[in-house]
C-alpha cells in the first residue's frame, strides 16, 4: 500500500504544489503524493496510459486534488473524463482552486465533484484548508475496496 499513489495533485503552479505538499506532509496525512502539471498528464496517469501504461486501475488514487486553470486539458475536462468512465467514476475529486466564480462552482457540481474549496491567500488558512481536506478524505472517508470498479468494465481506450 505504501508505494501506491495516495493523492494525485493536479496543479500547474510549482509553488502551489510545493505549499500543498508541505501542508499535507506536516499534518502527516499522506506521503505518496503525485503531482500532474497539466490536465493531459493527469488523465494519462488516471487512465494508465502513455508514461503511466504500467499502472493498473486496481489501485486508483484515494483523492484527486484538482486545480481548474490548467494548461492543455482544463480541470473541468479532467473531471468530466473521470466521471464518464466506470473505472474512475468512484475516485473522490476535490477542486482546490483560486476561483470562487459561481459559474465554476455550479459547473463543478454538475460534473459530480465531491467538494469544492478555494485556496486562501493567507498561508495559515491555506495550510488549514489543505489539512482538513486531506484529513477527511484520507482518514475519515471510507474508500471503495481495491478493484471494485475494474472487473465488469470496458478496457481503457
Amino acid at each position: 500500500m505504501s508505494h501506491e499513489v495516495e493523492i494525485l495533485l493536479v496543479e500547474d503552479s510549482a509553488e502551489d504544489a510545493e505549499l500543498t505538499i508541505r501542508a499535507l506532509r506536516r499534518s502527516k496525512i499522506a506521503n505518496e503524493i503525485r503531482v500532474a502539471e497539466d490536465g493531459a498528464e493527469a488523465l494519462d496517469f488516471l487512465f494508465c496510459r502513455g508514461a503511466h501504461k504500467d499502472r493498473t486501475f486496481v489501485h486508483p488514487p484515494r483523492l484527486v486534488l484538482l486545480d481548474l486553470k490548467l494548461p492543455k486539458v482544463s480541470g473541468m475536462e479532467v473531471l468530466r473524463a473521470i466521471r464518464a468512465d466506470e473505472r474512475t467514476r468512484a475516485i473522490p475529486v476535490v477542486v482546490l482552486t483560486s476561483s470562487k466564480e459561481e459559474r465554476d462552482v455550479i459547473e463543478g457540481y454538475k460534473l459530480g465533484v465531491n467538494a469544492y474549496a478555494q485556496k486562501p491567500v493567507d498561508f495559515e488558512q491555506f495550510a488549514e484548508t489543505v489539512r482538513q481536506i486531506g484529513m477527511f478524505w484520507m482518514l475519515i472517508n471510507q474508500a471503495p475496496p481495491s478493484g471494485a470498479f475494474v472487473a465488469n468494465t470496458a478496457p481503457a481506450k
Binding site: 509553488e15 502551489d16 505549499l19 483560486s98 491567500v121 493567507d122 498561508f123 491555506f126
Partner: protein, 475 residues
Amino acid sequence: MTWYSKMTAAGALLILACIGMLSFSSEVHSEYDRAWVHHTYVVVETLQMVRIDITQAETGQRGFILTGQDRHLEMYAAGVKQVRQDMRELADLIADNPREQEAIQRLDALIAARLAELGEGIEVRKLGGLLAGVETVTNASSGEKRMGQIAAQIAEMRQTEDKLLSSRLDTAEASTQKIKVVIVYGNALAILILLVKGFVIHWEIGKRKLAEKNLMQSNERLERRTAELSQTNTELESFTYSVAHDLRAPLRHIAGYSNMLVQDYGPQLDAEGLRCLGKISTGAHQMGRLVDDLLSLSKIGRQKLSIQDTALDELVADAVEELALEYAGREIEWRIGELFSAQCDPALMKQVFVNLLSNAVKYSGKREHAVIEVGQATQNDERVIFVRDNGAGFDMRYVGKLFGVFQRLHKARDFEGTGVGLAIAQRIIRKHGGRIWAEGEVDHGATFFFSIGLPANQPSAPTEALIVEEVIHVA
C-alpha cells in the same frame, strides 16, 4: 394643432358658413323678387283683359242695336260682367300701390261712364227701335272719345307697371350679381385659406417628421451609448475580477514561502531578519484581504438582486451573531429597535448590516462602554434605517470620502481595515435604488442612514459605471 392653425381653420369654416347663409338668403330674396315680377305680369294681363272685355261689351251693344237679337244682348251682358270682375281683380292686385290706386279710380270712372253710355244706347234701341238706336251709336262721338280715354288710361297704367317691372328686374339682377360676387370671392378666399392651411399642415408634418427622426436618432445614439456603457461596465467588471483573481496566486506564494522560511530557517535568522519576514507576511496578508474585498465588490456589481419581503430585524440579529468574533471580550451595549420589513435581497442586505455593524464595532473599539444602536426613522417622508455608535466618529469635512473604495478616514495603525466595507454597503443600497449617507463628529460617534428604495428604481447604468471606474482606478 397650434393656436394659429386653429384660427385659420376656424376662419375658413366661418367664411364657408357665411357663403352658405348668403346663398340661402339670396335664394329667398330672389324668390321674393320673382313673385313681384309675376305680380306685375298679372296686373298687365288684367289691364289687357279690361280692354278686351269692355270692347266685347261695346261689340255686343252694337250688335243688339243693329239686329235686336238677344244673342248680342247676352254678349253685352257677359262683357259688362267680365269688365266689372276685371276691375275688382285689378283693385285687389294693386292695393299695395297708392299711386296706381289713383289711376285705377280714374279708369274705374271712365269705364263706369262708358258702361252707362252703352246701357243708355240699349235702352234707346229697346224703346225707340232700330233707327233711334243706330243714331245713338253713330251720333255719339263721346263714345269714341271715352274708349280712347280708357285705352290711354290702360296704356298709362301699363307703362307704370312696365317701369315697376323693369326696376324690380334690375333689383333682382343686382342682388343676384352681388351674391354671385360674394360667393365667388368668398369661395376663392376659403379655398385660398384652405390651401394655405394645407400647406402649413404639410410643413408642420414635415417638421414633425424631422423632429421624430431626430428623436429616433438620438434614441438610437442613447441606446448605443447605453449598450457601450453596459459593455464597458461588464468588461471593467471582468477586468477587476481577473486582476484581483490573478493577484491571489503570487500573494499566496509570498505568504506561503515567508512562512516556510520562518518555519524552516527561523532559528538561523536574527531578530531583524525575523522582523523583515514578519513585515512581508503582514503585507501579503493585508493585500490578500484587499484583493478579497475587491472581488466581493466586483461580485456585487455583477450579481442580480433576488428581491423578497424581508424582516430587517432578523437580518440585524444574524449580522450581530456573525460579528461575534470581532467583538469577543468587549463590553458593547446593543440597542436594537423594531425595524420594518422591506422588499430587498436578504443576503445582500445582511451584508450591509454586517459591514455597518462591523464598522461600528471597530470604531467604538476604544470606548470602555461602547453603545451601538440600530433603529428606524422617517426623513422627508422616507423610511430609513440608522446604525449609530459612540466611537471615534469622523470629521464631516471628509464625509464625501467615506464611501469611496479604499478610502479611509483613520490611520491603519488606529483601526485596521481595507476601506471597502462602506463602498460595498453603498453599492448594495444603490443597487436597491436607495441612498446611504452618514453624519458624525470626531470623538462623538457616527450615524449611518440608509433607505432601501423600491426594487423598481434600480440605479441606471451611468451610476454603476462611475462606481466601477472608481474600483478600476484603484485596482
